[in-house]
Each structure stands twice: as structure tokens, then as C-alpha cells.
């Protein structure tokens, strides 16, 4: 009797797993099919165009610019976002709830709207752009691209880092301090290493989000062209057959970077679990 109920339990568990696998497969297919289809169509039907595109200096430049600008945006997000994430995780203060909501706003608002807001503020007559206009120009320049990317991607980093800090027991930090470490030292030697996987994942997400940005960037900086702008541009002026190779190339490059970073972060994972 006991054996039998165990068996049914096991079977029902198997059933759950089976259903989950099925549902999971559907959503996975939903993601994979468009990507694989785009890449496969290009490689099978028009490999020549892909090769030609891979040698096109304008395309390579735009992909490099996307990667580089997204890297700069992520770097700034790390320097300015991680401290904020720490405060949000460790301290309770008045207005904390609203600050957390504000951080999520860039995810919610339409990208074009974000671009218009940034152009208004960072333009050469804007609130921030005007005082800086003698030193740095944002419109149709690299700083403008970075600003747009930073705006839409920084929430991912802050949220992920905050979760990381929250997952670290504050007592560990206190122990370090009771042993004579300064707060700064305790954070650097104990908390940040323990939260590092979250921070890294946040940085990857933030970088990826930055690379994919288009709507906000084109408003403030149509030039120099990043890969997403160039893809759109080729689509408008020459059609799908000219824009797809650019998109495929960007996809492949991003996929490689992603796999590399995920491998690194998986190794990192062992460190904070032990």
C-alpha cells in the first residue's frame, strides 16, 4: 500500500516535470525559431551577402561601436550603480520605496520618449548639456549614445546588485568589522565578493540591454551609427536583403560574447555558494 502511494506520487511528479518540459519547450521554441530562422535563412540562401557584410568596414565599425559604447555605459553603471544598490539593500530610509520605483521607470517608458527626454536635457541648450557644451557634445556623438544606453540599461544592474547585497548576511560584514576591518574594507573584502555573481549577471544584462537599444539612441545620436541604427537604415534604404546580414552578424557576435560571459559567471557561482 505504502509502496503504491509512493509510486503514484512519483508518477505524478514525473507528470509535473513532463508538463513543465512541454511548456518550457514551447517558450524556448518561441525564442529560438525567429533567431535560428534569421541566421539559417541568411547562411543558406545568401551566404555571399553575409561574407560581403562581414568585410564591410562600415558594418564592422558600427558593431564595434555598439559593443564599445555599451561597455562604457556598463562601466559607468557599475561605478555609480553598485553603491546605490548597496544603500538600498542595507539601509532603511525615508523615500526608499519611491527611489526603487524611480529606478524602474527607464524600463517602463517607451524608448522614443526616453530619447526625447535625454535630447532635451543633454542637448547643447539643455539643463546638463549647456553647461558642459564647451567640453563635451552629446548630440550626434559617442557621449550621446552612451547616455542613451546608460539610461535604459542601468536599472538591470542596480536591481541585480541590490538582490546580491540582500542575499549576503549582514552579520558576515559585522564579523569582519568586529575583527578590525573598516567598513570600506569589509565591503570590498566580504560583501562585494559574495555578491559578485549578482553584480556580474547585472552587468551582463545591462550591457546586453545597452547593445539592443535603438529608439532612444536614434533621437539623440543618429550619427555615428551603431549597429542597430545601421540595420534599420539598411532596411529602409535597401530592404530586407541588405539589412539582414548586418543583423545576423550582430546576433552572432553578441551570442559569442554572451556564451563567454555566462561561462565566466557560472564559474563565479561556485565561489559564493561555498
Amino acid at each position: 500500500m505504502l509502496e503504491r502511494s509512493k509510486l503514484t506520487l512519483k508518477m505524478s511528479q514525473e507528470k509535473t516535470i513532463l508538463i513543465f518540459t512541454l511548456l518550457g519547450a514551447i517558450i524556448l521554441a518561441f525564442i529560438v525559431i525567429p533567431i535560428a530562422n534569421t541566421i539559417a535563412t541568411q547562411v543558406i540562401l545568401d551566404a555571399d551577402a553575409l561574407i560581403k557584410t562581414a568585410k564591410d568596414v562600415a558594418v564592422l565599425k558600427s558593431i564595434w561601436l555598439s559593443i564599445y559604447a555599451a561597455f562604457l555605459a556598463t562601466l559607468i553603471a557599475l561605478i555609480l550603480g553598485v553603491p546605490l544598490a548597496y544603500l538600498l539593500a542595507r539601509r532603511d530610509f525615508w523615500g526608499k520605496g519611491s527611489i526603487e520605483s524611480i529606478i524602474d521607470v527607464p524600463i517602463v517608458i517607451p524608448h522614443t520618449v526616453a530619447g526625447i527626454a535625454l535630447l532635451t536635457v543633454f542637448g547643447s541648450h539643455g539643463l546638463i548639456g549647456y553647461p558642459l557644451s564647451n567640453y563635451i557634445g552629446f548630440v550626434d556623438a559617442l557621449p550621446g549614445i552612451v547616455v542613451a544606453m546608460l539610461f535604459v540599461s542601468v536599472p538591470f544592474l542596480i536591481n541585480s546588485a541590490r538582490e546580491g547585497f540582500e542575499s549576503v548576511d549582514p552579520r558576515l560584514e559585522n564579523v569582519a568589522r568586529s575583527l578590525g576591518a573598516s567598513r570600506w574594507r569589509a565591503i570590498c573584502k566580504v560583501t562585494i565578493p559574495l555578491a559578485s555573481r549578482h553584480i556580474l549577471v547585472g552587468a551582463i544584462m545591462s550591457w546586453a540591454r545597452a547593445i539592443s537599444e535603438f529608439g532612444a539612441v536614434v533621437i539623440i545620436a543618429y550619427y555615428p551609427m551603431i549597429a542597430s541604427t545601421l540595420t534599420y537604415e539598411r532596411f529602409l534604404s535597401e530592404g530586407l536583403s541588405a539589412s539582414r546580414p548586418v543583423a545576423v552578424l550582430l546576433m552572432v557576435v553578441c551570442l559569442l560574447v554572451f556564451i563567454l560571459l555566462r561561462t565566466v559567471s557560472a564559474r563565479w557561482g561556485r565561489y559564493d555558494r561555498d
Binding site: 548630440v139 533621437i219 545601421l230 537604415e233 535597401e238
Partner: protein, 335 residues
């Protein structure tokens, strides 16, 4: 839990059923050029007031795309309205339509705000001098992507001829971008490089679509930009009207406009011509009679008033070509 799911399903189903029941109205499908959105919204309102059982569904897109929806995707449409009447003639006739009517026009103007540099000085005779000044910034949309973009280039090309000053295009465009114009066989030809090679200087702002430049003007990033008169009017911007010899507004100067050509980076050759809107009822229209009522409204006094107020002056009387339906004959003259 099961109950909850059941209730949810019932709600969903009833919504779906109700949705079907309420959409019993006749749907009139109108495909039109993006720049007709504002006036057609008004016409739609008026039409639905007069025909309460009709639901007008408008779909705005670029003119070429609008027509391709019918000719290549075989989408059913009751009305097709294009920002370039000749596209109806070239792409739809005789297979998909056998008539069209030229009903409204537009022009290229220079829009600005009160804060634009030298806004108080600018007029029809000195605009190119003002744009030449080193502290003035101006914008136009990308000629590879946008009809407003190549039309703006044509206006500047034609300005050399009209003002008899062969350095206007050099000073305004060539010195600040990689665009190069040549004069061949009595025509000005601009051969567009790829978009990423246009390389504008600080003086010039280029965006893919004309609508995106509005933000540049609002943020005072540019002082002036080339745009359709209707867009400037609908956004309550100040604008300078240009002489009809260069602003592409008048059928009378069609021969002059022909002297300006733009070759897009895709190889597509575009010759200057008046910006005249064309409307037709395609042969596959499901509700032909209602569609003709819609055209009647566009051509009527009420309709013309709407177009006039929104900066797309109506052509009165409208000019018909081809096998125009009998019902519309009183409203047009045969072209």
C-alpha cells in the same frame, strides 16, 4: 483554484463573444500616406457622423508601402490615398485601379521657432544667406529613407537656379556633408552615398524621418529644418514659405521641378515633381459605394476646409484621371 480558472475562462470567452457581436458595423478600410493622418482623422470623424453604421479603419504608412500592401500583399482596401499621385498611376493602374483624383497638395517649407537665430530676419529672399551663417544650424531628413528628405534636397538644388547663385548647394550641403551634386544634361543630380557615409558636420542634423527632426527644433538643437508645410502647420511651428518655383507645390512648375534629381543609395532614381496627393477606390474594394461616398466627402466643401486648415491646400476643382466613376464627375475636372 479550479474554480478560479473556470471563472477566468468564462470571462475570457464572454469578452470574445461580446467583441464579435459589437463589431457588426460595416468596416471601411482606408490605406493612406502618413502625412494624411491628421486630415483623414477629421474626415473619418465626419464620415462616421454621417454614416453611423460604418466604422472607418485607417492605416497610415509611407506611400509606396501603402500601395504595395494592395498590389503585392493583396490586402483588401476600400480607399487608397497616396502622397504622390503618380504612384497610383505607375503602380496600380490598370490592374488594381482604373482612375484616380488629384485632390490636395503640399509643399516644402522651412520651419523654425521664435528662438531660432535670425528668426526675425528670414524671408523668401535671404533664407539661404541665413542658413549659410556659421552659427546657424539646420536639419533635413535622410534622402535615402524619406520622400521629405529627397524633396528638401531638390528644393535646395532648384534654389541655385531660381536665385541664380551656383554656390547655394555647395555652401549649405556639400561643405557640411558627403553629399555631392553634379550638373548633367541640364539636370541637377544628387547621387546619395550610403546613409552611414553622409557624415554631417555640427551645422547639420540629419534624422531618418522628418518627424524625428521636430524634437531637434524643440530642444533648440537646430534653428531651422526643411519639412512639409502640413507638418509645420499641424505642430504650430512658424514656417517660411518658399517661392513656388522651388517648393514643389505647383503643377505649373512641373517642368522646372524635373531639373532636380536624386539617386538614392539603392539606385532608385527620383525626379522632382509637384507634391500632389492622389486618391482612388481600388478595384478590389469591398464597399465600393461607401468608398465613393468617402471620396465625395474628401472633395466636398467640408472636406476641403479640413485640408486647408491642416496645411494641405485642396486642389479645387480636383483633377480626375482615367475612368472616374459617374457619381464623382460633378466634383472634378477631367485632367
Amino acid at each position: 483554484m479550479k474554480k478560479l480558472v473556470a471563472v477566468f475562462v468564462v470571462i475570457l470567452l464572454s469578452c470574445a463573444v461580446l467583441g464579435c457581436v459589437t463589431s457588426e458595423k460595416v468596416t471601411l478600410k482606408v490605406l493612406h500616406a502618413g502625412s494624411l493622418s491628421a486630415p483623414f482623422e477629421e474626415v473619418e470623424r465626419l464620415f462616421e457622423e454621417r454614416f453611423p453604421n460604418v466604422d472607418v479603419q485607417r492605416e497610415a504608412a509611407g506611400s509606396t508601402k501603402t500601395i504595395r500592401k494592395v498590389t503585392e500583399l493583396h490586402k483588401e482596401a476600400d480607399i487608397v490615398a497616396s502622397a504622390d499621385y503618380s504612384l497610383v498611376q505607375d503602380m496600380m493602374m490598370p490592374e488594381y485601379a482604373d482612375w484616380y483624383i488629384q485632390f490636395a497638395k503640399n509643399s516644402i517649407v522651412i520651419a523654425y521657432t521664435n528662438d531660432s537665430r535670425y528668426a526675425e530676419e528670414i524671408n523668401q529672399d535671404n533664407w539661404y544667406e541665413i542658413l549659410r551663417r556659421p552659427d546657424v544650424k539646420f536639419g533635413f531628413s535622410n534622402p535615402n529613407d524619406d520622400p521629405c528628405g529627397y524633396r528638401s534636397q531638390m528644393t535646395i538644388q532648384l534654389a541655385e537656379l531660381y536665385y541664380n547663385d551656383s554656390s547655394i548647394y555647395d555652401d549649405l550641403i556639400e561643405k557640411n556633408t558627403n553629399l555631392r551634386m553634379t550638373f548633367e544634361n541640364g539636370a541637377y543630380i544628387l547621387r546619395m552615398p550610403n546613409s552611414e557615409e553622409i557624415n554631417p558636420s555640427d551645422k547639420i542634423m540629419i534624422r531618418s524621418m522628418e518627424m524625428e527632426l521636430i524634437h531637434g527644433l524643440d530642444a533648440h538643437e537646430i534653428d531651422y529644418y526643411f519639412i512639409y508645410r502640413s507638418v509645420a502647420e499641424q505642430h504650430n511651428e512658424r514656417f517660411l514659405e518658399l517661392p513656388p518655383q522651388i517648393d514643389l507645390s505647383s503643377v505649373d512648375y512641373a517642368d522646372t521641378y524635373k531639373k532636380a534629381q536624386v539617386v538614392q543609395s539603392s539606385g532608385n532614381v527620383i525626379t522632382g515633381k509637384p507634391i500632389v496627393y492622389g486618391i482612388t477606390v481600388p478595384k478590389n474594394a469591398e464597399h465600393r459605394d461607401l468608398a465613393i461616398e468617402f471620396v465625395k466627402l474628401v472633395l466636398s466643401e467640408d472636406g476641403q476646409k479640413i485640408f486647408d486648415e491642416l496645411g494641405q491646400p485642396p486642389i479645387g476643382p480636383a483633377v480626375g484621371s482615367g475612368n472616374v466613376p459617374q457619381e464623382l464627375m460633378t466634383l472634378i475636372c477631367q485632367g
